[in-house]
Symmetry: C2
Subunit: 399 residues, 2 copies
């Protein structure tokens, strides 16, 4: 429809003309247009940006297809998003809320797993399918909530800190559940390997939090003092961001956990310039993360009752089970903050879809159930921002 | 060598684990490391970043292979580089140096074409090969020079402005020469189509410079006033950047010409925040542009006399012909500034390689000549920064 490449090839005699600028214009421009419309409908812009992905995806307009480039820009986007969040919070303050966050994470893992298992069992599917859907409903994708809280200047609210810490713990728990269900799909659980996986993931996070932050605060200024290249502060920050992301992947947790820890490591020493330059990269890349979520969902599912009913059931169960699971875990904070935590943990985003894809590749999840999990993953990211706005309605805004 | 992906796949049961953070770490980290070494050897960092590409490329360490992702990040990098340059200069001041720049561009197109044609003819190759190599030696890649001038705060020097304008004119002239030689390779020249190509490219540039800048200055503040999304200024800037890049591609010129014009269009109205956020995106992406140039060259060519001799001949001819061609065109400025212009136009970078690739795809350029053109393209980008530093040695620096 918008592909004029052959026309250009007429002049240059080459079919290899890149349509990169056009892809950038469509994704970035339409994301921001839908974000603007969303704001005018009194919903957060982020919901509109995800919906933009549904509109331009293969299901409807087919202007953009999920591919390596969009996917990589999306991954970079969520890494920069979490890096920026890490820059804004203090490790010492996060450690202090660790107890409540642990309860919120455990509650928010157990209830969704049980809910997913029961629903899919009740729909008459085999046990392994029910277990996989349960696992896919576990992992919170903290990027969506973090972006809403960042844009509204609410990152240092008590409930926000608990959401961030709970999301990191949730990622480790999700890794372990995924390891267990993957083993089940392959035949049996290897408890030695499972213990190693757990030790590596937990060890990595604790090592960075309790040793890395202090070391970096002493060590980085010394390195900076010896560098002659331009923007040395930002260069070091990016090397730390990519370095800890790589280590996180090798430790078994998500790259964004490494990105978050990298931001937190720098938080105490980063100057204003590093914050500004990070914002520039994040503003460019985050829309790709949001659009890429929307791209996964074919909006035609809304018109097909046979697909829609189980998808809606799984979606509603995912919202309620995470809300009550994490909310009850954080009950100690009082009702209002517990509600904030419960809602902040709702988005599943890319994490749920990855689990479902693994199930699909093992042949233990059929296509319709996979589609229902994708529906749940995407729609939880769409409903969370307006709910969060409501939950934080009485909290003073920065802007 | 560094690929631990299978090891991760052990845990997750999936082979689709992305090694994106690792690619980012290797490219960005080693580019900056080589940049730092380069600075300590009293050469500009940019030369080291290009050499980093040669080191990690398939010819030597084989850590990174040229592919869609690196190529796209590189293209984005040079777009942001030129956008940032455009933000720093004023259209009105560039129009004033148009006359000298036109002469510098014409001189810098004619001499390299003749030099390339003569050398390849003298080496005993057929006429069509000689014409293609001549065409590949024409187009200046202004990104390298622009980055050096930006980093040293020299963009608003008189010679710098002439280099920027001459590079835009050079791009249009290069497009026309490419259209002519492509037609020759396909059988004959269609003068009507050639005129249309010329009219479209020249019309686009003139339209933006003489009408777009003024219109945007009046129109954009009005749009901004009506937007409710966060960072609306930067969002509009990026939409303009991608939009004009798309239009540039459809008008037949390089996307970076559109990016440069977009920056210039905003220059008058962009506030400090837009400059800062643009710098953030540029600092992240520009190293990919530089590394991607280096990736194209296999450093083993330096050890092979049979390949090295013709490559060196073409390289030396490319440097001298552009230096004297553009330098004599700018002679009116006096010797010192003419030398700056002549040196600033030397880098060929990705543009020369694209022409050579087209020749290769038409079967009119054999592989050894293609390799020699790649050598010339990459090495002109490596030698230009130190020469530029020398040429501007008496000019007061900002930092």
């Amino acid at each position: 429809m918008l592909d004029l490449t052959p026309w250009i090839a007429l002049f240059t005699g080459s079919a290899s003309v890149s349509n990169l600028p056009l892809q950038m214009l469509i994704v970035f421009g339409l994301a921001k247009l839908c974000g603007e419309i969303s704001e005018r409908l009194r919903a957060p812009a982020i919901a509109g940006e995800i919906i933009a992905g549904m509109l331009i995806g293969p299901g409807l307009l087919n202007w953009i297809q999920p591919g390596e480039l969009i996917h990589s820009l999306a991954d970079l986007g969520v890494m920069f998003l979490l890096f920026r969040v890490g820059l804004e919070v203090r490790a010492s303050e996060l450690v202090r809320v660790g107890g409540v966050a642990l309860l919120a994470a455990i509650g928010g893992v157990m209830l969704p797993f049980i809910a997913g298992y029961l629903i899919v069992s009740q729909l008459g599917h085999p046990q392994i399918e029910a277990i996989f859907v349960g696992a896919a409903m576990v992992a919170t994708s903290v990027g969506i909530t973090a972006q809403v809280l960042t844009q509204r200047g609410l990152l240092n609210h008590r409930a926000s800190r608990i959401i961030l810490v709970a999301a990191v713990i949730d990622d480790v728990l999700g890794l372990l559940i995924l390891a267990v269900v993957s083993s089940l799909a392959k035949g049996g659980i290897d408890f030695l390997q499972l213990s190693l996986t757990a030790a590596l993931a937990i060890g990595f996070v604790l090592l960075i939090v309790f040793w890395g932050v202090g070391t970096a605060t002493r060590f980085l200024p010394w390195v900076k003092g010896h560098l002659r290249i331009a923007e040395a502060d930002f260069v070091l920050a990016l090397v730390l961001l990519f370095g800890l992301s790589v280590m996180a992947v090798y430790a078994g947790v998500a790259a964004i956990v490494g990105a978050f820890l990298a931001g937190m490591t720098l938080g105490e020493s980063a100057d204003k310039r590093v914050h500004e330059l990070t914002s520039g990269a994040a503003e460019l890349l985050v829309p790709f993360f949001l659009v890429n979520i929307g791209l996964q969902l074919d909006p035609k599912v809304f018109l097909d009752p046979v697909a829609l009913v189980p998808a809606l059931a799984i979606f509603v169960a995912a919202v309620l089970s995470k809300f009550f699971g994490s909310g009850l875990g954080a009950w100690r904070l009082g009702r209002r903050d517990a509600v904030k935590v419960g809602i902040g943990m709702i988005p599943r985003g890319e994490v749920g879809m990855v689990v479902a894809q693994i199930g699909l590749s093992f042949g233990v999840i059929p296509q319709p159930i996979y589609a229902a999990v994708v529906f749940m993953s995407v729609m939880t990211t769409v409903v969370a921002p307006p709910l969060l706005k409501w939950a934080y309605r009485e909290t003073p805004l920065r802007d």
